[in-house]
Amino acid sequence: MEQNLVTYLVFFALAGLTLVSALAVVTLRNLLRSALALVVTFIGVAGFYLLLQAEFIAFVQVLLYIGAVMVLILFAIMLTRRLMQQQLYQFTGKWWIAAPLSLLLFALIAPVVWTTWGARTSPPPEPLPPEPTAALGEVLMTRFALPFEIASVLLLVALIGAIVIAWPQRDRLPVVEELEQKVERAKAGWSDPIGVGSDGDKGVTA
């Protein structure tokens, strides 16, 4: 009973934290602070995982979402604009379109939450394996091998796409072309390798 009470208290504390910070994400006018509120939300979600005794997932959540994804988001925010003085508008003039749409979405989701999906009929959940992480790894490599691999391929595609976008442009500056030609000539045994003789003295030829 004590255990249950503590769990409930922790759950409601975490839920409050997550909801408040998620609300802050969409209402704060400073974009960077919104992003930091999102960090708090992620920490709350990691807390839920811990509460469900899924330690591995919880710490991977922290590592990937906070340690990597949020850092990238912050990078993007910092590199794009000066946001310090700029107060962004969180509400545009079209809010009256968005409000009924989100209400509709909520109406769709709410029954799903309330439905007890055969909880009364199904047997109680199985006890956790002694090494949950090892069991997770095994399942990933056997039963869910295909989805796992598809996700990997998706990430690989994203990686390659990023490289393709960031690849330097094909057409180069004329100066570079000229220099390259000079280097070619020098390699072919040209007597005046660097420059046009004016500061050829300083050239290093060894």
Binding site: F59, L74, F75
Partner: protein, 367 residues
């Protein structure tokens, strides 16, 4: 931790309910960590300054130390080797003016230094400082350490941004890019001992390296993993030769440019504790943790010896940090990222693959 709770149970079990004993045990463990971490920080600063001084043919701070404070005795030649220098530094830091930039984000500017220390302290919870002496025995200890210490990147981005200073922001960007890049090879190197031990728990990893069967001696895979881990860890904690965030000739003091007084000291505390944690983690994963001669002895002697060996190894690694700091020059920014992504990541990836193969082949051969 379990040991502590058992002991408390024997002592207080009659008088108090079970949960109270657990709570008291937690409080003791947390207090110990809160005392231990600043002590380690102080000792590390002292070790760094004295060590670097010796490498540069100097003496280093030797004016502060215990002893009678009359005129004649403070002029003794080596008053305790300046061991109280960190205390003097702390007093100095407390008396400094605390400056908050007028145009900066004041709230975040205040939060950042505190948040810099918290993740470092949190990692202490799972480090096995000796035989059965870790505050929490997590079965995913390695993942926990990596996840929590990755929070530091976020903190310094916040610190750099809230200062509203170009040097701070540039320094923070550089540091964050560096830390995110080097985290990949670091984590990949950590996978190797995890594969050897077949566990993510730090305690299990230590107890699977008895005697001299440390994973660093598993040539060549373990040795290579240790080297790549050490290199990536140097970059991860912004240490020489990867100390670009503190390249004062280029970006003043990086993300701590606008910090003064105790906030500045807190950032340094975070960095130094992170450096110690990197050494401690290397000790646990590659150097056999608390394993050493005499830990098998029962009773308090065995425990004390195990703690002793752990700290000897960790501080020996830190001395290596000092040695490197006194010797090597700094990398260029453009060389930095290339080294991480083009050299370290392929090496560590290959190492992980080879180790997995070796572990499978070994278990097949034994079966």
């Amino acid at each position: 931790m379990e040991l502590l709770i058992q002991g408390l149970n024997r002592w207080l079990g009659q008088a108090l309910p079970n949960w109270a004993v657990v709570l008291i045990g937690m409080a003791i463990a947390i207090t110990l960590i809160f005392v231990l971490a600043p002590l380690i920080f102080m000792f590390l600063t002292w070790l760094l300054r004295r060590g670097i001084a010796r490498f540069a043919d100097r003496i280093g701070p030797n004016r502060t130390g215990l002893g009678p404070f009359n005129k004649e005795r403070t002029r003794q030649r080596w008053p305790l080797w300046g061991l109280l220098q960190p205390v003097a530094d702390g007093v100095k830091m407390f008396t400094k003016e605390d400056i908050i930039p007028d145009k900066g984000d004041k709230v975040l500017h205040r939060i950042a230094p505190i948040a810099a220390v918290v993740p470092a302290l949190m990692v202490f919870a799972v480090i096995p400082f000796g035989k059965d002496l870790s505050a929490v025995d997590l079965n995913v200890g390695v993942v926990y350490v990596v996840a929590v210490s990755s929070l530091f990147t976020l903190v310094l981005l916040v610190a750099g941004w809230s200062s509203n200073n170009k040097y701070s922001l540039l320094g923070a960007m550089r540091t964050a890019a560096q830390m995110v890049s080097y985290e990949v090879p670091m984590v990949l190197s950590l996978v190797v001992p995890v594969l050897f031990a077949r566990s993510l728990s730090l305690n299990t990893i230590v107890s699977s390296q008895p005697g001299l069967r440390w994973y660093v001696f598993y040539f060549p895979l373990g040795t290579l993993a240790f080297l790549t881990y050490f290199t990536a860890a140097l970059a991860e904690v912004n240490h020489t030769p990867f100390d670009l965030p503190e390249a004062d000739s280029e970006i003043v003091a990086g993300y701590i440019t606008e910090y003064s007084g105790m906030k500045f000291a807190l950032f340094f505390m975070g960095e130094f504790i992170n450096q110690f944690l990197v050494c401690a983690l290397a000790t646990v994963l590659f150097l056999g943790g608390w394993q050493g001669p005499g830990v098998g002895i029962g009773g308090p002697i065995g425990y004390l010896l195990s703690v002793f060996w752990f700290f000897v190894k960790a501080f020996a690694l830190y001395f290596l940090f000092v040695w490197i700091r006194a010797t090597w020059p700094r990398l260029r920014v453009d060389q930095l990222m290339g080294f991480a992504w083009k050299r370290l990541v392929p090496i560590t990836l290959g190492n992980v693959l080879a180790t997995g193969l070796a572990v499978v082949v070994w278990s097949l051969l034994r079966a």
